[in-house]
């Protein structure tokens, strides 16, 4: 009689395989970072669509698992955190697949989506365990406005106020902020606070932020919840503002000021905001990332002017300070994950002609040059690409004054007209004064392309390279 019969052995082996699978099952926490209107929702929708709808028509030549035929399938699975809303993929895709496609609604809250990707491992350890491996990808979508709150975590009320003051006293903000500056100046900081007055000034500050964001196209908007409060609308925690006259008051008196003074109350609310809103947001969603993609829309600031452009640069460097980077190993992956791959993506690349893509990439590279230099010290793998999550235009050529010229054709977002144009050349370097005076670049926003074939994925630009960079090495 044999000690172990083969049936039992098979069962044990199967169980052991399952357990081991769970232990080393891979998981990627993808940070999709981008300021508001940089196309985060469209990007995530397209990414999910490319993976879930993968078929023989897919344009994923650069994604190695697909190219090598090892990609089996992907699907959406229930997410880990049940108290967070699910990313509304269906609505977003519905918007894009209409006969008259539209962009998905801008994000107003946090949502999550989890994908399970089945593939055949090629040469990793996994091959010896099972023929089929699963990679889980967690993606979080959130309003880009909230992202700029993260730098607040390292600042005191005084430091933050000073920084805001410096910004408000510069063009282009200054001319709109005059009234706010004077009304803050009239306040007596050590007076007992008047709730109504505080609320009014905070309201004025909020209006100001709205103006900066939507009229001037600026990027550094703090605190982010002011323009997108979520469930905190009208709560006192959102009724504070930077105090601009720290030079006039005694530092000691400020330190000793209790909560019954105006300045003390502002400080208390700022700290409460920082701890309750920002830190919670950070701890719940920003601590456990393995991979990051930074989406930057360089074209809108180019349209709006030099101030908007400089602001974008500042915003990106502020944001990137909030993440922890470095090479990850087994231990750090378990206990304190670090981002070990970072992709900078210049979005809306389909809004310019293809030969401008190189310029777009080098422009973004210049924008993040300082950050990149610091991060390459940590031996981080970085890359810059010009992408479009959802393609809006088709490329062609036309003759202009006897010369062949590349053009793009698409439906404009504003008035739904078919338009063929050459939007101008993108500067390869951060533009200087001369450039802004000539102002050769005029970019028009387009609506998504109409989908012709229901089986087809969303048309995209270099999403396969994005996938390869972010996930390819996890699917070996």
């Amino acid at each position: 009689m044999r000690l172990i019969n083969s049936d039992k052995f098979k069962k044990v082996k199967h169980k052991a395989t399952g357990m081991l699978n769970r232990v080393i099952d891979q998981q990627v926490n993808l940070a999709v970072t981008g300021l508001s209107r940089s196309g985060k929702t469209a990007f995530i929708t397209s990414l999910v669509n490319q993976l879930v709808n993968e078929n023989s028509n897919s344009q994923l030549s650069f994604f190695n698992p697909v190219y090598e035929g090892r990609f089996i399938a992907a699907k959406r699975v229930p997410q880990k955190h049940f108290h967070i809303a699910r990313f509304d993929y269906d609505t977003a895709i519905y918007c894009l697949e209409q006969p008259q496609p539209n962009w998905p609604e801008p994000t107003v809250g946090i949502s999550e989506i989890r994908l399970a990707i089945r593939y055949r491992p090629k040469n990793s350890l996994l091959k010896y365990i099972d023929d089929i491996a699963t990679l889980y990808v967690d993606i979080t979508d959130y309003p880009g406005e909230w992202l700029l709150d993260l730098p607040l975590l390292d600042q005191t009320f005084e430091e933050w106020s000073e920084q805001m003051k410096a910004l408000l006293k510069q063009e282009p903000r200054q001319q709109y902020a005059k009234h706010f500056i004077t009304s803050v100046k009239q306040l007596d900081p050590f007076q007992a606070p008047n709730e109504e007055q505080l609320k009014d000034i905070a309201h004025e500050y909020t209006q100001l932020l709205h103006h900066f964001r939507y009229k001037l196209g600026l990027s550094v908007i703090q605190p982010g919840r002011f323009i997108l409060p979520g469930d905190l609308d009208n709560a006192p925690i959102l009724q504070f503002f930077p105090y601009l006259n720290f030079d006039d008051i005694d530092a000691n008196a400020y330190q000793n000021a209790g909560e019954d003074t105006l300045i003390g109350m502002l400080r208390a609310r700022f700290i409460e905001y920082k701890e309750r809103v920002v830190r919670k947001f950070y701890q719940e969603h920003f601590l456990r990332f393995d991979r990051q993609i930074v989406l930057a829309d360089c074209l809108t600031p180019l349209n709006k002017g030099p101030d908007s452009f400089a602001d974008l640069q500042l915003a990106i460097s502020l944001i990137l300070e909030s993440f922890s980077y470095g090479k990850s190993n087994v231990l750090t992956r378990l206990f304190s994950p670090k981002i070990d791959k970072l992709l900078f993506a210049a979005t809306k690349a389909d809004h310019v002609t293809p030969e401008q893509h190189d310029n777009l990439v080098s422009l973004l590279n210049q924008l993040v040059f300082q950050t990149k230099k610091q991060l390459s010290f940590d031996n981080l793998t970085m890359k810059t690409l010009a992408i479009a999550g959802v393609k809006t235009t088709t490329v062609g050529k036309t003759t202009h004054q006897g010369k062949l010229m590349p053009v793009i054709k698409g439906t404009t977002l504003n008035d739904n007209k078919l338009l063929t144009l050459f939007p101008g050349s993108v500067p390869a370097k951060i533009p200087n004064g001369d450039y802004w005076q000539q102002n050769p670049f005029k970019f028009v926003e387009f609506a998504p392309q109409v989908k012709t074939d229901p089986c087809q994925n969303l048309a995209h630009l270099r999403m396969d390279q994005v996938l390869q960079f972010l996930l390819g090495d996890k699917m070996k």
Partner: protein
């Protein structure tokens, strides 16, 4: 014809005249003229020197005494023709039978020689064309910018050119596949890489299969053959066949120089086979190994020869492939010797198992 020529000359004279006039007028008048800033061209000493140098070099190349060689060739041909004519006119009168034989032989020989000359020239031209394509591809792949203008051909046209030179109808399907995959937005580099992945990679797989097959054959044959000289002959024969087959897969009939290079590699392989045969013999004698030991020694030697064949095959593959694996995006697609080794070992062990 003289009329046309005359007209042509007249026109040129007219053109230079008017240009000269303009220049003279400008220099004479000396008025201030503001030029468009964009029309400004660099004109410093360095670039001028450089241009001069390039011109001189061109002249040097051009002024090499080609005419001397041509004259020699012409004279030589003339001499041969005169000699031949003399020989045959006299020979047919004096001894018509012998001369007839000689004439027949020389006709046969010239047919054979002409055919092989034609083949060699054709191969050489093909090889040159392939080399040009390869250079253009690597220029495009290395280029930082989309400078298809400076290279003179776009990646799309280049890929079409490569596809035209590929044999077989399987490539037609993968070519269609490639055309479906590329978008107008793709850069030149991306177009080439997608082409490499869609069209050339299936060919690579075929080539690797061939290499593995040939390598396994050399493993078995070398292991079975008892004499060193037979080993060497086998290696030469199999390797030559393999070179032709693999380069044929990429639509390349090897030219003279590339073949010389590769055959050098073949000789190294052969020398290894011969030397290792001797080492095995001597070693086995010295160790006093029994028959079994000798057999496994032979198998190991055969495996060594097989691996060398595989290595040679890979080298041929890299030489014949129109798009090299130099680009960072392609470097992971490069076929590794490990893949072939695995195939060889599994095939050999399957063979042994079947026998056992």
């Amino acid at each position: 014809m003289s009329e046309v020529k005359g007209k042509y000359q007249q026109q040129i004279l007219f053109d230079t005249n008017s240009e000269l006039n303009v220049e003279k007028q400008l220099l004479a008048n000396h008025q201030q003229i503001v030029f468009n800033n964009d029309d400004w061209q660099v004109d410093d000493q360095d670039t001028r020197n450089e241009l001069e140098k390039i011109k001189n070099e061109e002249k040097l190349v051009a002024s090499k005494p080609r005419w001397l060689w041509r004259t020699i060739a012409l004279l030589f041909t003339g001499l041969v023709v005169v000699e031949g004519f003399d020989y045959f006119t006299q020979g047919f009168i004096n001894s018509p039978f012998t001369t007839g034989l000689v004439a027949a032989i020389s006709v046969c020989i010239s047919i054979v020689a002409g055919a092989s000359l034609f083949r060699e020239l054709h191969g050489l031209r093909q090889y040159k064309r392939q080399q040009i394509i390869k250079n253009q591809v690597s220029d495009l792949l290395m280029g930082q910018e989309n400078d298809s203008d400076s290279i003179g051909i776009s990646a799309f046209d280049l890929c079409n050119k490569i596809s035209d030179s590929l044999p077989g109808d399987l490539e037609y399907i993968s070519h269609q596949n490639w055309q479906d995959c590329i978008q107008a937005e793709h850069s030149e580099q991306e177009t080439l890489i997608i082409y490499s992945r869609n069209v050339l990679s299936p060919l690579d797989q075929k080539a690797i299969k061939e290499i593995a097959k040939f390598s396994t054959e050399s493993v078995v044959l070398v292991a079975l053959s008892p004499v060193a000289i037979i080993d060497m002959m086998i290696m030469l024969w199999r390797n030559l066949r393999m070179i032709d087959k693999i380069s044929g897969l990429y639509g390349l009939k090897l030219g003279y120089w590339s073949r010389i290079k590769l055959i050098k590699q073949v000789f190294v392989n052969m020398v290894y086979a011969g030397a290792s045969e001797m080492i095995v013999d001597v070693g086995a004698d010295m160790l006093g190994a029994d028959l079994l030991g000798k057999m496994s020694g032979r198998l190991a030697q055969g495996l060594g020869a097989g691996m060398l064949t595989a290595r040679l095959g890979l080298r041929v593959l890299k030489l014949a492939r129109p798009i090299s694996y130099a680009s960072p995006l392609l470097i992971n697609d490069e076929p590794k010797i490990g893949e072939i080794r695995k195939a060889i070992i599994s095939q050999v062990s399957a063979l042994i198992k079947n026998k056992a």
